[in-house]
């Protein structure tokens, strides 16, 4: 490749585009890109904590009390034996199963609630004319700006009044509808052409019918964003469960994990095993649906 063409290709490469194909007869081996020198160490650094997490969960307690630490002996059989021992120890020493069930229930209900109620509210705020619409939207926006720490004590007191402290309901109810979801969906509805809805209305469809049958199919992307962001946030939430839940059987995975730390400050292999168990669900979903995750984050940033 000539020098000029190489430079040109480089600029386009920096934009993720490919240059035009070289004319036949100019076959030179491309040097491996220097970018690997940056990306490979960085990528390895990013995943190293995970790797070390799993390796430690495959160690014996004695092996973690040596300095400097070394890879556990006996790959792979002893590793698997250790893992069986550590993971079952974590499973029996703390109700991880119960915690997983709690978290799954809370997250599922919160995600479904948000998808349904934020869609309804977002659609109404975008398309329906009713008294107080603008004021309502501004109030919802305002609550977005207030940090959680400002309201967490009164919310706790309200939950006390409702008698739901230390129950899953307290984890679900305040998060059933989030201003973030409403804002995102309202903005989305505003971008849809009005003609489709008008046509449906003239054909006699109700508002709800229009929303469900006509608009829902085109809502896949924003719904996925709201769903994924809500799911991730709810699964990993820590501060509110810390305040609202006191009994061990009602804890969520993250809250339970942090309590597990207290009783296992020096039993690293078992602690790591417990940690792996709490992270696997989200990591698995992420690996399978990475594109959806990335898209959700990107679009919420663009709209934000």
């Amino acid at each position: 490749m000539s020098f000029v063409a190489a430079e040109r290709a480089d600029v386009l490469d920096g934009a993720g585009l490919t240059a035009l194909p070289e004319p036949a007869g100019h076959h030179r081996r491309r040097r491996p890109s220097g970018w690997h020198l940056l990306l490979l160490p960085v990528a390895l650094l990013m995943i190293f904590p995970f790797v070390w997490l799993v390796i430690t969960s495959a160690s014996t307690l004695a092996e973690t009390r040596v300095f400097p630490p070394a890879l556990p002996v006996g790959f792979p059989v002893t590793w698997i034996e250790n893992m069986v021992h550590n993971y079952s120890a974590a499973w029996t020493q703390a109700p991880f199963g119960r915690w997983a069930l709690n978290t799954t229930i809370v997250t599922t209900v919160v995600v479904i609630g948000n998808l349904v109620f934020c869609s309804l509210a977002g659609y109404a705020l975008a398309r329906l004319r009713f008294f107080g619409r603008t004021a309502l939207f501004l109030v919802i926006l305002a609550t977005l700006m207030v940090p959680f720490q400002v309201v967490m004590i009164p919310v706790l007191l309200i939950c006390k009044q409702l008698g739901i402290v230390d129950t899953l309901t307290a984890l679900i109810a305040p998060n059933l509808v989030t201003p973030f979801g409403i804002f995102l969906l309202r903005q989305f509805f505003k971008t849809l052409p009005v003609e489709i809805e008008e046509a449906a209305r003239i054909d006699g469809a109700t508002r709800l019918g229009t929303l469900v049958k006509v608009l829902l199919p085109s809502m896949a992307a924003p719904l996925a964003t709201v769903g994924i962001m809500t799911m991730l946030w709810s699964w990993n939430d820590f501060l509110w469960p810390l305040i609202a839940i006191t009994s061990q059987n009602h804890m969520t995975l993250q809250l339970g994990l942090s309590s597990f730390v207290g009783s296992h400050t020096t039993n690293w292999p078992v602690l790591m095993a417990g940690t792996v168990m709490t992270q696997v669900p989200m990591l698995l979903i992420f690996l399978v649906a990475q594109r959806w995750f990335v898209q959700s984050f990107a679009s919420s940033g663009v709209k934000g």
Binding site: L39, L128, I140, V294
Partner: protein, 311 residues
């Protein structure tokens, strides 16, 4: 009533009446649709905001009846050295965290925006920390940076340095928190920047290539200006989150050692749930809110001066 409402009613085979008008009216439907949101956000959003204002004017231990003390909480805050120290630490943390993540993510995004072999692996590796919880991240780094048996110290010793105290050293603990949270947030920022980079119109980059621009020139003149909105969003979003740092502190250092990592929200938590001064804690929360608001406004104003939006 409108012709449309009459048409709808007639289609249903009845004479259009007043009840039909009410039922079919947009207003009713509108309020019906927003009612779940109004209930939840009203009860758990608006009401607590108002209640917390009242709370900040009280002396309240969450158990016995509260007493009204007016502005005493806020006055006490002005003279509280522990609060002032927590503010300093929070600002230090934010000033380190935000630029490192922003600049680092920008570089990474540029590198990840290319067509390279193994790009899928690189991207997955960079994004994965985003889905880990703050608790798990804290546990992982607690172990990595363990002073006695951690692998980081092992590496340092092997390279000839001395073993460090990390989370157990008052002078190093906060910086360890910075490293830990940078690891957790980098992927998110990279995603934002990547999306912005990919939003640069193809024709612009092709024109730059044809005009003979070097790679650096093309980046600086074409791509970088278009990253303005994304950078502004990130700086604001990262700052807001940095000022509210809590989870990682709770799981690693509990505000220690020697209060070295007691940031504002952790101090707030201690006041509310360990010292049982809920009113004082809420006053702290409002001051924090004010600080966040001020900083965001300043950042937006600066942004308006320097950020160019595509027309």
């Amino acid at each position: 009533m409108s012709a449309r409402d009459a048409a709808v009613a007639t289609q249903r085979g009845r004479r259009a009446g007043r009840w039909d008008r009410v039922l079919a009216s947009e207003s009713t439907t509108g309020w019906l649709f927003v009612s779940p949101a109004v209930i939840v956000i009203g009860l758990f959003g608006v009401a607590p905001i108002i209640w917390s204002v009242v709370l900040s004017f009280q002396s309240n231990d969450l158990v016995t009846p509260a007493t009204w003390i007016g502005l005493a909480n806020y006055k006490a805050l002005l003279h509280d050295p522990m609060f002032a120290a927590s503010v300093r630490r929070t600002i230090l943390y934010t000033v380190l965290f935000v630029p490192v993540v922003t600049v680092g993510a920008l570089g990474l995004a540029v590198a990840l925006n290319r067509r390279l072999r193994g790009m899928r692996f690189y991207r997955t590796a960079v994004f994965a920390p985003v889905v880990t919880s703050t608790v798990a991240t804290a546990i992982m780094f607690n172990w990595l940076l363990d002073p006695d048996f951690g692998i980081v110290n092992a590496l340092l010793v092997k390279l000839g340095f001395s073993a460090q105290g990390f989370f157990q050293s008052p002078s190093q603990a906060l910086y360890c928190i910075v490293v830990m949270t940078v690891w957790g947030w980098l992927g998110f920022a990279v995603i934002i920047f990547l999306a912005a980079l990919q939003g640069v119109p193809q024709e612009l980059m092709e024109a730059a290539a044809i005009d003979g621009a070097t790679r650096w020139r093309a980046f600086r003149r074409v791509q970088l200006p278009m990253l303005g909105p994304a950078t502004l969003f990130l700086v604001i979003w990262l700052s807001i989150n940095a000022l509210q740092l809590f989870d990682e502190i709770y799981v690693t250092t509990r505000g220690g050692p020697l209060s070295a990592t007691t940031v504002v929200v952790y101090y707030l938590y201690q006041q509310a749930f360990q010292v049982f001064q809920a009113g004082y804690a809420t006053a702290i929360a409002y001051v924090l809110f004010l600080g966040i608001l001020l900083l965001t406004v300043v950042q937006l104003l600066i942004g308006r001066r320097f950020v160019h939006y595509r027309s």
